[in-house]
């Protein structure tokens, strides 16, 4: 009996050992290797956007040329789907397995990563002085500053086809009513007035998000009141327009017939080649037009989403994504050295060389070469005059996760603008509660 149970015990022990071995096998950490002062840093990011990988590669190469003892290895193996990437980032940070540096959004999405606990604080570094205040706001918490900008800030608004506007004798609209009047003329002339591409669901929210300048112009304090749950979209007469504008477009019959299934590339093609007159889009897409339709680069112009009054027109700005480091990186000094390089005119020039001119850099002393493409050239006056508002996600951590589904519903006529705004307010409340904000 005793030998029997001893054997059985050994079997059981072997079984348990197999399980624990199997589990501990998963826990191989990230981090770089180090020999004789030479350091290799790993930069982790998603695989979704080709130009982002180009940016990372260019910065890594330029920095290594200047600092031969530090090598930056770009690991763009993250998932291309943004929801999956969010979860991977959170999991890696929570388990301490994030490589030395990673690329992630600035603004509200950063807050969900709990930077105070998980990230390397850059608050006391000298290079922070090179960054402008709007940028610092979008990558900081009360306790720290965490990221440096890896691209340029760009505007969101309407891409328009210049030859089509000229052919019909249209002016760039200063108010939403003028925009709708133009749309009617374009429609009557037999063209698609406004292109929408809900096949790529995220594109449906651009008009609503880019309309934030008009809310900001009506009340500069709106975002902080929103964070405190004192204002919302449905009950604010200006903010609700960010949703009813989508309703105006579908009710006016201004959209392309395939709006429900068309994708981003279809939209860019339509506005570049003149199939459609207007397309609500973010400035970064200019690079895709330049690559895919090089003959039409100068045919596409840009204006901010028009509001109520002609003398208050401006543009909503998206801060660029950032490079962050986890708190437990084994090479904090090398990481900071690299970040200082990015937050300097040399860093900006490296990005410009890799991507061309895509917008303004939030780094002091950076200059843009002449000959910016038309879309970017149309944005620069807004930067010069200061008629700008950061997108709401850079002013408030409250952003509902279902906005893009709601804007598809409003933009396809499934739901009206007002009830879309109400639904979005409920959606945003969940995010605020998850973040544990006071007042919700």
């Amino acid at each position: 009996m005793s030998s029997h149970s001893r054997r059985a015990l050994m079997l059981a022990a072997a079984g348990v050992a197999t399980v624990t071995l199997g589990l501990s096998g998963c826990a191989a950490g990230g981090g770089g290797s180090e020999t004789e002062g030479a350091v290799t840093l790993t930069w982790f990011q998603g695989s979704g956007v080709e130009t982002n990988i180009q940016t990372a590669d260019a910065l890594a190469a330029a920095f290594h040329k200047k600092n031969p003892d530090i090598t930056v290895k770009v690991d763009a193996s993250g998932p291309s789907d943004s929801a999956q990437l969010d979860n991977l980032m959170k999991t890696r940070l929570a388990t301490g397995e994030m490589p030395d540096m990673f690329w992630y959004n600035s603004g509200s999405l950063l807050q969900a990563l709990n930077p105070d606990q998980t990230m390397l604080n850059l608050k006391d570094e000298d290079f922070i002085d090179n960054l402008d205040d709007a940028w610092i706001n979008s990558v900081s918490t009360e306790n720290g500053i965490y990221g440096v900008p890896v691209q340029s800030a760009g505007g969101g608004g309407i891409f328009y086809n210049i030859p089509l506007y000229e052919e019909l004798g249209l002016e760039v609209p200063k108010t939403w009513d003028e925009f709708l009047a133009n749309a009617q003329k374009i429609k009557d002339a037999g063209h698609v007035a406004v292109e929408q591409t809900y096949g790529d669901t995220w594109t449906s929210q651009i008009l609503t998000l880019a309309d934030f300048y008009n809310v900001y112009a009506s009340d500069e304090d709106w975002a902080s009141q929103y964070t405190e749950n004192k204002v919302n979209f449905a009950d604010d007469p200006v903010a609700v327009k960010s949703f009813t504008k989508l309703q105006d477009l579908v009710e006016g019959g201004f959209l392309n017939v395939d709006f429900a299934s068309a994708k981003l590339d279809d939209g860019l093609k339509a506005v570049a080649t003149g199939t459609a007159a207007n397309y609500p889009m973010l400035g970064f897409a200019q690079a895709t037009i330049a690559t895919n339709y090089p003959d039409n680069v100068d045919d596409v112009g840009f204006f901010g989403i028009p509001g109520e009054s002609a003398d208050k027109s401006g543009m909503t700005v998206w801060e660029p994504p950032a490079l962050y480091a986890p708190a437990n990186t084994p090479h904090p000094d090398a990481v900071k050295k690299f970040m200082a390089f990015i937050a300097s005119p040399e860093g900006c020039d490296t990005i410009t060389e890799a991507l061309g001119v895509t917008g303004a850099y939030p780094v002091k002393g950076c200059t843009l070469p002449d000959g910016a493409p038309k879309i970017v050239a149309d944005m620069l006056p807004y930067f010069d005059s200061g008629d700008l508002a950061p997108a709401l996600e850079f002013l408030s951590p409250v952003k509902g996760p279902n906005l893009m589904q709601i804007t598809v519903e409003v933009g396809s006529g499934i739901r009206d603008g007002k009830s879309g705004a109400e639904l979005y307010d409920e959606d945003a409340a969940k995010q605020a509660q998850q973040l544990g904000l006071p007042g919700w």
């Binding site: 079997l11 072997a14 399980v19 929570a94 429900a260 299934s261």
Partner: protein, 309 residues
């Protein structure tokens, strides 16, 4: 490990002189210790997370912090405006896919067990979609069902029919996905039915023929009652699959346009993707209870019917 087994067996055999009690003998031949490695894996990877999820369902959980908030997650979950739509869609999806798989599966089963030309080939063709990745099927059909460039509407256009927006019309989208789900899953239902059908003794049909029964009588009074165990299996399997369905819907529409094709599982996934880990865990507990509440009584009822025969 295998080399250890025979001596044990002999040892036990010698001790157990009373061979009239085979149950006890079987018990001794495989001691409970043998279960341990499997049980350990099952506990670590299944039981522990399941019970942990019952706890996390009552928390606000960011992966970094856990805060106990009582039933708040369940309140939020049930007051979610998308959820009523999600529940309705889940029920429609589960019942329709299950029902269609029963009817079409039985018809295909009867067809493919009868003497027809190229039977082996047809069996393979019917079963083939079961083997293909669900996500692959979803993406393929998303392309085929494109309202303007898709093969389906292009084909319809040849006959002068203007096809609808299969996946873009909010009233139609759920049924388009159901059709694809049935296409993909009916092969398995047919296979289960074929196994059930060939198990029916030929004698009954011969006896019925002597009594002058026609093909319909055979089907109605012999095939249908005797194939009931297969029906039970198909109903249970496809209903569980339908109520939990996610991959196909996610691959084809992501729950869209808007929320038109959201089911409970896709609502939960979106909450998880948004970082509402506590809330989505609560949703999974609800889904678990929902599926159990539908399947258990149904299973018992179907099985009781079976013994009545």
């Amino acid at each position: 490990m295998a080399t250890l087994a025979p001596p044990l067996q002999k040892n036990e055999l010698a001790k157990t002189s009373n061979l009239k009690r085979p149950r006890r003998y079987a018990h001794r031949m495989y001691p409970h210790w043998f279960l341990l490695p499997g049980a350990a894996i099952y506990t670590v990877l299944f039981i522990a997370p399941t019970f942990a999820s019952f706890y996390f369902a009552f928390t606000r959980w960011t992966l970094f912090d856990v805060q106990f908030i009582g039933f708040d997650n369940f309140v939020t979950f049930f007051t979610d405006p998308q959820l009523s739509k999600g529940f309705t869609n889940t029920l429609i999806y589960g019942v329709l896919t299950s029902g269609l798989k029963v009817v079409l599966g039985l018809l295909l089963g009867v067809l493919l067990t009868s003497n027809i030309l190229a039977r082996g080939y047809l069996r393979a063709v019917v079963f083939f979609p079961v083997l293909v990745s669900t996500v692959g099927v979803g993406i393929t059909f998303q392309a085929l069902m494109d309202p303007f460039d898709g093969a389906i509407n292009r084909t319809l256009a040849i006959f002068g029919i203007e096809g609808p927006g299969w996946l873009t019309d909010p009233t139609l989208v759920l049924y388009s996905i159901i059709a694809v789900d049935v296409w993909k899953g009916v092969g398995l239902a047919a296979l289960i039915y074929m196994a059930g059908l060939v198990a029916i003794p030929r004698d009954y049909y011969e006896a019925a023929r002597v009594d002058g029964a026609g093909a319909w009588d055979n089907f109605r009074h012999i095939t249908l009652p005797l194939v009931r165990p297969a029906t039970t299996t198909v109903v249970i399997l496809s209903l569980i699959g339908g109520l939990r369905s996610f991959e196909l819907i996610w691959a084809m529409t992501g729950g869209g346009p808007g929320f038109s094709s959201d089911v409970v599982a896709s609502v939960i996934y979106k909450q998880y993707a948004a970082g509402f880990y506590g809330l989505s865990t609560a949703g999974n507990v609800v889904l678990f209870v929902l599926v159990s509440a539908i399947i258990l009584p149904l299973f018992l009822w179907l099985n009781r019917k079976q013994t009545d025969l």
